[in-house]
Every structure is written in structure tokens, then in C-alpha cells.
């Protein structure tokens, strides 16, 4: 297999997670904006989760690479 799809997936979700985390961080005082999402800063929480998911995918990809280089 020429391309391990886990790398692009890991990379994309890491970046998406970072973007959302940053958005959530910089808008954390904006209560009006998050009224929509029931008062939860979803960008922050979900951004964090996406970052974690991206990292796990990346981890699997690296593990796989070490196993069959």
C-alpha cells in the first residue's frame, strides 16, 4: 500500500481540532455566541476531542509503519 490513509486522516483532524480549539479559546467569553449551543462552548470541547482523535489516528499510523516499514 503506497499511502497509509491513517496519516492524512490523523493530520486533517489534528488541524481541524486545533482550529476549533483556538476558535473556542478566543471566543470563550462570548456568551451570546454560545447561547445557540445551549450555553456550551462546543468549539472548545469538540475541538479538543477532534485533536485527540487525530492524535490517536496518527499514533496508529506510526505504529503500523514501525511494524511493516
Amino acid at each position: 500500500m503506497g499511502l497509509d490513509i491513517r496519516f492524512p486522516i490523523g493530520m486533517m483532524f489534528t488541524l481541524l481540532g486545533l482550529i476549533l480549539l483556538a476558535t473556542g479559546f478566543f471566543t470563550s467569553g462570548d456568551a451570546a455566541m454560545y447561547q445557540q449551543s445551549l450555553g456550551l462552548n462546543v468549539n472548545l470541547w469538540w475541538g479538543g476531542f477532534l485533536l485527540l482523535f487525530g492524535g490517536v489516528m496518527w499514533g496508529f499510523a506510526i505504529l503500523g509503519k514501525n511494524k511493516n516499514p
Binding site: 486522516i9 445557540q36 462546543v42
Partner: protein, 647 residues
């Protein structure tokens, strides 16, 4: 629908996703050397990748938009598409059929038909499949462009062309491999993009029990929410919240308008097995797996998330309906809005119609023309009859008229996205929507180009050309397939509920097909002539059934009964399921009868690897718990449990 505005962050997320899918296409470009690389991925992909792609390729308009629409329209009974339909069919494919598809080294489903029967069955199947694929892809493209237009007021035509162009770019560069890889990425994008929306919706509605409570109230007054067009119609309280009990009461007791037989035989056995086991769009993903084990595991890997998908796609529709019925939530199922310019003449028209005492059908039709939207007949009838219509102020009347506009179920999922997503999450959810459409379209296009090139072009138009020539043809037909899909999208823009149309098209093509495969794979006596005549008659039977049947309340024409009005069915769904059952039975019976009357041409030796009884059992080198049979049984048990849970 009011518009939402995307900010820089949303566009960044969208742009990042597009960059990644196109990037994958370009990264794989170097590997595309022969036509086999382009069409078959060189058969070297692991099962988890093909499995998720298998699932994702099926995620077009059908799944996200259509299932949420059905969730609101029909409630939890929509889960039958998963727990009665998809899962058993996927297990059957893995356990019984994959060994023949993969083992026969056929490059496509039509090619299997050629090996098993002869050129006639292949030609018929490849042509009908090609047509169906283009339609499916066009319908999903139309739905996407329509939604983006409504929500973001992006131009319909630009959406259509730009989305197609992105798909074209990465399929052209990386062929099937790139379609499969991006489908995996899209799978995660779809799940992770929509899960928070569903979660917020459920939280807002007050949890699952509150949703159930509200839906019980809805079921007893369905006309209030424009769910039915007959003001005297009511259901038992559990009509939206139980999957089987409402079906037992017959077609009039459930909003889907179907009975148990139509669900179990029509949807479960005929349509779902026909779709999941013989549709090259999904089977192609399994055929690209690296070995027989991976090929058989593909549908099983896909079955696990598939089983849980109702949470993601049906639940939002039910939440939307529950919110509509909750006072103080300021939410209602989306409707087309009567514009100011249309409202004034519409108000004049309703007053005039109320005075003249015009009959309901004429009045409703006349109003639709003036207002530019369709109306719920029950509400219009109320307006026409009540004396207040003439005396009330224009403002009050305008509110009542707007309330009478039919629900736009296809807008359900996006109305929730709009409601709960602040900028950032909004970009993510929209990207997920885009991902689902692209994965469906790429799936259709790769299946179409393979069938065209191998089963039509190489077989009948230009045999014995160089491999380079076929690889070139594959690229040309990828472009052609996209252009045809766009044409089909414009064609589909004339209809309202995408889901019902797709089911109808599947009914025509897929329903008889499963009978042919079932007999072909498991009854060695089936002859080529029997299979061909059975298949053609089955498809003709579905067209004939459609021409002579109609669902209640529809006008004869494109919805059926254009030849004669012989059968009237309670709903569009029921019409689809009975059509499929009828076509399957015709194909099955005729194939058996004609096979018995004709001589078998192919010898036992030729049918080895193609028919169950003539194929030696492969040596099993897997532990018992890793075998497809065992995993399949476990999946089925879980499936039965889900049915029991929402009985």
C-alpha cells in the same frame, strides 16, 4: 429558511477538507499505472479501509438528508432500513456471496453475470446499472445544491458544478483507490461532524424520554404538524416511537403506510438484499480488498457502524419533530416560505376561493400556483370552510396560510445544524454534509466508469485494445459520468422527496436482480436463457407495476398509474415495497420455469467457483471467532436485540 453566514473559520475548515481530498487524489496519482490500478485499486487494500469505504459510498442524499426526513415523517420505523434491511443483507453478502465475487476474479458484478450465464445478462445488467448509477448520483447532487442554496444562498448552479469538479479532480487523479481512501476520511468527517449536532438536539429536547413523550402527542394529532393531509387522521400514540407494533395494525395504523409483509419481504428481503448484495457500487469496495479474507470482512466491518447509524441519521428527524411539538422551543419542521410578493395575491386568492365555494382540490391547486408553494389540503380545507377566513385581518390570515404550507422534510437536518452550531462547529457540520455527498458521488462515478469501460466498451465497442487505451477510456468516461450526473441533477430538481425516487429507481433495477443472483449462485440448474428472460421480465414487471399502481392522494403521472389505475396503495413507501416484491417474484418464477425448459450450456467445470454446490469448500485457516460466519451470527443477534428494544 433564513440564511446563515459563514465566517472565515468556517471557510478555513471547508477549505482544509477540500485540500485533503484533492491532496489524496494527487498523492495516489503516481500509483495509477495500469487500468487495473485505476479501476480495481490493484486489489491491495486492507479490510477496515474497504469496509468503511463500503459504508461511505452508500452515504449520499439517501442517508443523511433522506433518513432524517424519514425520521420526522415516519419515526422509528425508519430503522427497518437498517435492522431489517441492511445488516442481514451485509452478513449474507459476506458469508455466502463474497467468495464467488472475489474468487471468480470477475472485475465487476456484470462480469460475474457473464461468467455465470452469458453476454445477454451482462449487457442488460451493465446498461441498467449504468443508468441507475447516474440517476442516483444526480439525485444526491441536486439535493446538495438545493440545500446549500437554501441555507447559504449560494447559487444552485455554482454549487452543482463546483462540487462535481472536486469529485472529478480526485477520482480522475487517483481512480478507485483515491475514491476509497477519501471515503474513509469522509466517513470520519460525517460521523464527527454530525454527532455534536445530534447530541445538542437531544439535550435541547430534554433527552430521549422527552422526545418519546412529545412524539406520542404528535401521533394523536398528526394534522397539526402537517404530517398527514387528511384532518380526521390519527394514530395510536406509539406510531412514531415503536418500530413493529404500529405495523401490526396494518397500513392505516402507521405513518409509513405499510404492513409487516411489505417491510419484511419487500424492504428486508428484496430491496435490501438486492441493493447490498448485487449493487456494484458497494460490492466494488469489497472486490478491491487485498485477499479473500479481507473481501469477506469488508461488509462485516461496515455492518458495525451501520447498525448504529440510526442514532446519527434518524434520531435528528425525530428530535426535530419533537421540538416542533414542544411549546417555547421556537422551532418547527422547515417549510417553504411564501414570499411577500406571493403573499398578497395568495391572500386575495384564498378569500375569493372561500366566497366562491370552490372544491378543495381545485382550490388547493389554484392557491399553489399563486403562492408558489404546495399546501396541506387538510389545512386549506379548514381555511375554506371557516367563516373567519373572510373576516380576519390579512396578518392573521397570512400566518394561517404559511402554517398550511407542506413540510420540507429534506431540510430537517440542516435546520438543526443552523439552530445549534455557532461559527466553527457550523463549518464542521457543513463540511460533513459536503463529505457525505462527495463520498456518494465518487462511489457512483467509480462504479460507473468501471462498468462502462470493462462491461460495455471493452466487451462490445472496442475489444482487444491496449491496456493504456482502456485506462485512457476510464478517465474520459469519468468526465462523462460527472457531466451526465449533472444533467440528472437538473432532471431530479423537478421532484420533492429524493428518497422516494431513489427507492423507485432501485425497485426497477435491483429488485429482480437479487432473484437472478440467488438462483445463479445457489442453483446450478439455472440457465443463461432463464436468467436473461427472468431479469428482463422482472424489470419490465416493475415498470408495469408502477404504470398501474398509485399511492393514495397522488395524481396519476410520474408517480405511477399512467397506464391504468388498477392498484391503489396507502403510501409511496408501500408502492415501492410492493413493486419490488412483485418484480422479484416475477423474475424468480420465470427464471425457474424457463431454466427447467431450456438446456444448460455451461459444464460443471466451467461453473466451478461460480455456483455454491459446484465449488469445493475452501480450507479454513481462521480461528472460529474470526470466521465471517461467527461474526455474522453475532451481528444478527445484536440486530435482533435492537428490534426487540424498540419493538
Amino acid at each position: 429558511m433564513t440564511q446563515v453566514h459563514l465566517t472565515f473559520i468556517d471557510f478555513t475548515i471547508l477549505g482544509l477538507y477540500i485540500a485533503f481530498v484533492i491532496g489524496i487524489g494527487f498523492a495516489l496519482k503516481r500509483q495509477m499505472k495500469t487500468s487495473a490500478d485505476f479501476f480495481l485499486s490493484g486489489r491491495n487494500i486492507p479490510a477496515w479501509v474497504t469496509g468503511l469505504a463500503f459504508l461511505s459510498a452508500n452515504l449520499g442524499a439517501l442517508e443523511l438528508v433522506g433518513m432524517a426526513a424519514s425520521g420526522a415523517k415516519y419515526g422509528i420505523a425508519t430503522c427497518h432500513f437498517y435492522w431489517v434491511g441492511a445488516i442481514p443483507a451485509m452478513v449474507f453478502l459476506a458469508v455466502f456471496m463474497m467468495p464467488f465475487y472475489y474468487g471468480s476474479k470477475a472485475r465487476s458484478v456484470p462480469e460475474y453475470l457473464k461468467l455465470r450465464f452469458d453476454e445477454r445478462a451482462r449487457a442488460f445488467n451493465s446498461i441498467s446499472f449504468a443508468v441507475m448509477t447516474i440517476f442516483a448520483s444526480g439525485i444526491s447532487l441536486n439535493a446538495l445544491a438545493k440545500l446549500l442554496n437554501q441555507l447559504l444562498s449560494w447559487d444552485y448552479n455554482i454549487c452543482l458544478w463546483v462540487c462535481s469538479l472536486i469529485v472529478l479532480l480526485y477520482v480522475l487523479k487517483g481512480g478507485l483507490t483515491s475514491a476509497i481512501y477519501t471515503e474513509v476520511l469522509q466517513f470520519f468527517m460525517i460521523v464527527l461532524g454530525f454527532a455534536p449536532v445530534v447530541w445538542l438536539g437531544l439535550r435541547d429536547a430534554g433527552g430521549w424520554n422527552a422526545v418519546k413523550d412529545k412524539l406520542e402527542g404528535v401521533a394523536t394529532h398528526p394534522v397539526t404538524y402537517n404530517l398527514v393531509s387528511d384532518s380526521s387522521k390519527t394514530f395510536q400514540p406509539d406510531a412514531w416511537t415503536h418500530a413493529w407494533i404500529p405495523l401490526l395494525g396494518g397500513p392505516s395504523a402507521n405513518p409509513m403506510g405499510v404492513d409487516v409483509f411489505a417491510i419484511v419481504f419487500g424492504l428486508g428481503f428484496v430491496l435490501s438484499f438486492g441493493y447490498w448484495c448485487t449493487n456494484f457500487l458497494v460490492v466494488q469496495r469489497a472486490m478491491a480488498a487485498k485477499d479473500m479474507k479481507a473481501a469477506r470482512n469488508t461488509p462485516l466491518v461496515a455492518a458495525v457502524p451501520k447498525m448504529l447509524f440510526p442514532l446519527l441519521v434518524i434520531l435528528p428527524g425525530m428530535i426535530a419533530l419533537a421540538l416542533t411539538a414542544t411549546a417555547g422551543k421556537e422551532y418547527r419542521l422547515p417549510q417553504a416560505i411564501i414570499t411577500q410578493a406571493h403573499m398578497t395575491p395568495a391572500l386575495g386568492a384564498i378569500k375569493q376561493l372561500a366566497t366562491s365555494g370552490a372544491d378543495l382540490t381545485t382550490a388547493s391547486k389554484a392557491l399553489s400556483v399563486v403562492a408558489g408553494v404546495s399546501f396541506n389540503d387538510a389545512k386549506i380545507s379548514e381555511l375554506l370552510k371557516s367563516p373567519e377566513t373572510l373576516s380576519s385581518s390579512d396578518q392573521q390570515l397570512a400566518i394561517r396560510l404559511q402554517d398550511a404550507v407542506v413540510n420540507d422534510y429534506d431540510g430537517v437536518i440542516l435546520s438543526l445544524v443552523k439552530r445549534y452550531c455557532p461559527t466553527g462547529m457550523l463549518g464542521l457540520a457543513l463540511t460533513a454534509l459536503l463529505a457525505s455527498f462527495m463520498s456518494g458521488m465518487a462511489g457512483n462515478v467509480t462504479a460507473f466508469n468501471t462498468v462502462w469501460t470493462y462491461d460495455l466498451y471493452q466487451a462490445y465497442i472496442a475489444p482487444n485494445k491496449s491496456d493504456d487505451h482502456y485506462a485512457w477510456m476510464g478517465r474520459v468516461v469519468t468526465v462523462a459520468g460527472i457531466l451526465l450526473s449533472i444533467a440528472a441533477a437538473y432532471f431530479a430538481s423537478m421532484w420533492t422527496n429524493a428518497m422516494d425516487i431513489i427507492q423507485l429507481v432501485f425497485g426497477f433495477v435491483n429488485a429482480p436482480l437479487f432473484a437472478t443472483f440467488l438462483l445463479g449462485m445457489f442453483w446450478s440448474r439455472t440457465t443463461a436463457t432463464g436468467a436473461f428472460i427472468g431479469l428482463v421480465s422482472g424489470t419490465a414487471a416493475s415498470a408495469l407495476f408502477h404504470a398501474c399502481s398509485i399511492s393514495q392522494g397522488n395524481i396519476p403521472g410520474v408517480k405511477g398509474a399512467y397506464l391504468a389505475k388498477l392498484v391503489v396503495l396507502p403510501s409511496d413507501m408501500a408502492q415501492n415495497f410492493w413493486l419490488a416484491s412483485f418484480a422479484f417474484t416475477v423474475c424468480f418464477v420465470l427464471t425457474v420455469v424457463i431454466s427447467l425448459a431450456t438446456k444448460r450450456v455451461k459444464s460443471d467445470e466451467e461453473l466451478k467457483g461460480l455456483v455454491y454446490s459446484l465449488t469445493p469448500k475452501p480450507k479454513v485457516d481462521q480461528a472460529w471467532y474470526a470466521r465471517p460466519e461467527f461474526i455474522g451470527i453475532v451481528l444478527l443477534i445484536v440486530c435482533v436485540y435492537f428490534n426487540y428494544l424498540f419493538w
